[in-house]
Amino acid sequence: MTATHTRPAPGTAGSPVVPGARRRPRVREAMPYLLLAPAVLALITLLGWPAVNVVVTSFRKLDLGELTRGEFTWIGFGNYAQILSNPEFWTVTVRTVVFTACIVAATVVGALLLALLMKHVPAVPRVVLQVSLLLAWAVPQLAATTVFQWIFDQQYGILNKTLVLLGFDSFAGNSWFASGTSTLAVVGILIVWQAVPFVAMTLYAALLGVPNDLYESAGIDGAGGWQTFTSITWPHLKPVLMIVTFLSILWDFKVFSQVWAMREGGPDGGSTTLPVMQYLEGIAGKHFGVAAAVSVLMVLVLVVVCAQYLRLLLRSQEVEL
């Protein structure tokens, strides 16, 4: 801070300003827009343009042929008609929604229980728990996926070995990736394992924010544990819980890396979710128009699922900005 006092004399710093004094208000008005320019340009070209483009592309017939010839063939709702009449799309959509619902519920409930546990244990076990949560959170998704593949490995995986050791001999050589459902279950455990820490920490922070005297007066009034929870903890926790649930839905619905890296949507497409379907149609299959329509539908499903939260969120932003 002392640096501010060793400025050159005001005259020297101020002198270039004098000739432009009349211009100054204008410069000041333009200033915020100049500061915003790089960010706005980047957001518009790299995000806005693709976002508009995905909608436009979804109305085009755009396979590899059209792309290389540079043809624009508009087919209106053709891509949508094709997808919506494809029973596989519905299977995948239902699977994605159910998968998301399961991992979001598991994440939020698990995290809530962990947050309550953290509040009720002494410092040492709490720190041990928090450090191990951080470890799970910090491992990059792809590294985590690889580790889970190794843990669930059919022949040498530690899980099967442990189950056999515990006397469940039928698990010797059991393949966890033989069906789409069990593959998704493994992916789900992986995602929940990495998602719980953030949610648990957030909820724990919210729990610490509940004023202590509320609990004291509840104790004086003779409230039991459950009563205290429903009348004091829950009302304080609910807004934060809504936010983390909303964020979890946003994050989990579009998961691609772990699903693809685990078994590439297999076996036989059994663990294919909407983002994986998009990749298979668009990038691998070069049916760009169809894949774009899948993207648009995917976002629509997401918006429908989250509409209520989105409204609440935007309304609270109006007030806060």
Binding site: M1, R7, A42, L43, L117, P125, W150, Y156, A261, M298
Partner: protein, 273 residues
């Protein structure tokens, strides 16, 4: 009451062990000699320790080239994000102007965009620019994925620095830019570090766009390399776990340094503003 506390403590430690296990297992497996990992025996703790897997991962597979690609792409994108993000955050925090609310909403919505849904237009866009299979394509995408969070996070940090300090410097003869550079920027240091670490982790982990843009093998980044590594090495789980550990280490170090700020940063950026 006492037994209940002990019971809960035991439960907490047990859960901690379960949560830490996969990370431990990655590390433990990376230290095991090849024969031990692929044997029928049951060893939770490696009976003999070797660095052979790390040698295999580092030397036999081009790991260093992918590490170089990852570092180049990630650091450049983070630098771009920080520059554009600081300028934008400054505008939002220090000026009141028409369109300010609109921009805040734009940044908020940008943060919720499911980038996975943009893979087709992004792919076509990079193709039209002739950037497929070139590292700048990834830099651009990682810039835009990290920028909205960077703006929100830095805006929060700048809001926390009293405007009076800048004004005092301006009274002392600094221009607006000078006051910012000499007063606010040094105070913003911790905020810049925390924000850039978060951006670093996001870009460092990214898998989808690296997978679809980089068709040629030597231009891959580490996440895609990890995925293809198993195919290249068959069932060499020891070497796979060694490379996963190496990939995790920088994240772990950074993460532990700034994790406290991350909870508040993520929630603030994503929801509270």
């Amino acid at each position: 009451m006492r037994t209940r506390r002990i019971g809960l403590s035991v439960l907490a430690v047990a859960i901690a062990l379960v949560f830490a296990f996969p990370t431990y297992w990655m590390f433990a497996s990376s230290l095991k000699p090849r024969g031990e990992a692929l044997s029928a025996s049951y060893d939770l703790v490696p009976t003999s320790v070797t660095l052979q897997n790390y040698a295999t991962a580092l030397l036999g597979s081009g790991f260093l080239r992918y590490l170089g690609n990852s570092l180049l792409v990630t650091l450049t994108a983070v630098a771009c994000s920080l520059v554009a993000g600081t300028l934008a955050a400054l505008a939002m925090s220090r000026f009141r102007f028409r369109g300010r609310k609109g921009f805040l909403m734009l940044a908020l919505i940008a943060q919720m965009v499911p980038f996975e849904a943009l893979m087709v237009p992004m792919f076509l866009f990079m193709r039209d620019l002739g950037l497929l299979n070139k590292l700048p394509s990834l830099i651009l995408v990682y810039w835009i994925t990290t920028l909205p969070f960077t703006i929100w996070s830095l805006r929060g940090f700048i809001d926390g620095i009293p405007m009076d300090l800048e004004e005092a410097a301006m009274v002392d003869g600094c221009g607006r830019a000078g006051a910012f550079r000499r007063v606010t920027l040094p105070l913003l240091g911790p905020g810049l570090v925390a924000t850039s670490v978060f951006a670093f982790i996001t870009a460092w982990n990214e898998f989808l766009y690296a997978l679809i843009f980089m068709r040629s093998e030597d231009l891959q980044t580490l996440p895609v390399f990890l995925k293809t590594f198993q195919n290249a090495f068959g069932t060499d789980w020891g070497a796979t776990m060694a490379s996963a550990t190496l990939f995790t280490l920088p994240v772990l170090v950074f993460f532990l340094a700034v994790q406290r700020k991350m909870v508040s940063g993520v929630t603030a950026g994503a929801v509270k503003g």
